[in-house]
Assembly symmetry: C2
Homo-oligomer: 187 residues x 2
DNA sequence: TTGTCTGTACCGACTGGACGGTATATGTAG
DNA sequence: CTACATATACCGTCCAGTCGGTACAGACAA
């Protein structure tokens, strides 16, 4: 029957998740069908559904994966920004910049998953709650911090929705502007 | 056969569009099926498809409708902000605030339509291009202006995606901060 | 060693419903 | 009468989820 060797379900799950992300990245949200994921991951449809009993479970898995990755990247970037007045926010600027440069498709992927199902974006909301708390612990300039954060989200979402009107240079200028503002927190 | 009286196709079109928007507002993007729109608008499916030959045409209609409304509101708000250093941007802050307060669902509706079909958001991109040109004509503080604009988009999109971490107060504080930034353009 | 039993991982044909779109009939205004 | 507007029935496709089965890896006994 030409079966693939049985592996640990953990490995299978992450393989399937990666395949699903790659698929969305290449062909957009509507192409995310269980059959397509199965093909992309070299599984059978049954195999995919064994690991993720419903499509929602699969999507939740993807969102958790991405949210975890984002949080990890921010944590790493924060370590490199400890001299900043608000290292977490500084880290978020860096990470957002990186995602805009390298991972536009990932950004789109995130969106794609959750349009119609706000519940599915919970993992991301939780990450953001934690970041919010971290920022609040680091600075008293709340309004300024939130304004910067909002800018980051604006850049990110516009890109993801293909409605950016900014050129690469302009976006870079915005990020620089945000970094300057962050430095101004001391005053 | 209990037919509704035949009216001008224009009237029918806008009735259908409004019904479609209302539907998304109430029940989210996935509920936007031609059948559902027909029920909501008290048309038959055939009637809807007579006015919008395909679903894409319907969605395009919705996006154009909303984009037009947005542009008109900005124009109106701009007239009330002529004393500002950059009336267009000031207007956009006002309008965004309004949409966040009253029209959260509308914001979601916009998104909902275009997830998988970036082409369909063209009308909005065009409006934004025009606004961008207007802002560039009004101020030389480009980076600052774009940062403010990005913040607005961030507020808007986060709301639309149900991933806001800001409270109403915090959002208000951000908007106030943005207005202050805009005033600072003079320096 | 060998046979049996059990649990886990995976396969793929099939089903049932949802939905976009078509074909055509019917009513209505000018 | 005819052109437009609306209604009804229907078709085909796509796709999530089901289900009966296969492959294989121990565990354990004879």
């Amino acid at each position: 029957m030409a079966m693939r060797p049985a592996r640990s379900s953990q490995d299978s799950k992450s393989e399937i998740l990666k395949a699903a992300l790659e698929l969305i990245r290449r062909s957009g949200a509507p192409s995310l069908t269980i059959d397509a994921v199965a093909v992309e991951a070299s599984f059978s449809k049954g195999g995919v559904l064994y690991n993720f009993p419903t499509k929602d479970a699969l999507i939740t898995g993807m969102v958790e994966f991405l949210a975890g990755q984002f949080e990890a990247e921010v944590a790493a970037a924060r370590a490199r920004n400890l001299s900043s007045h608000c290292p977490t926010l500084a880290a978020m600027i860096d990470v957002t910049e990186g995602w805009l440069m390298e991972n536009r498709d990932i950004a789109r992927a995130i969106l794609a998953t959750k349009v119609d199902r706000p519940e599915l974006s919970e993992p991301f909301r939780l990450v953001k709650e934690r970041l919010k708390a971290a920022i609040e612990a680091e600075t008293d300039y709340r309004a300024r911090a939130w304004a910067i954060w909002a800018s980051l989200e604006g850049l990110h979402f516009s890109e993801a929705h293909c409605v950016t009107i900014f050129t690469d240079d302009e976006r870079a200028a915005v990020l620089e502007e945000l970094r300057m503002r962050l430095k101004d927190f001391r005053n």
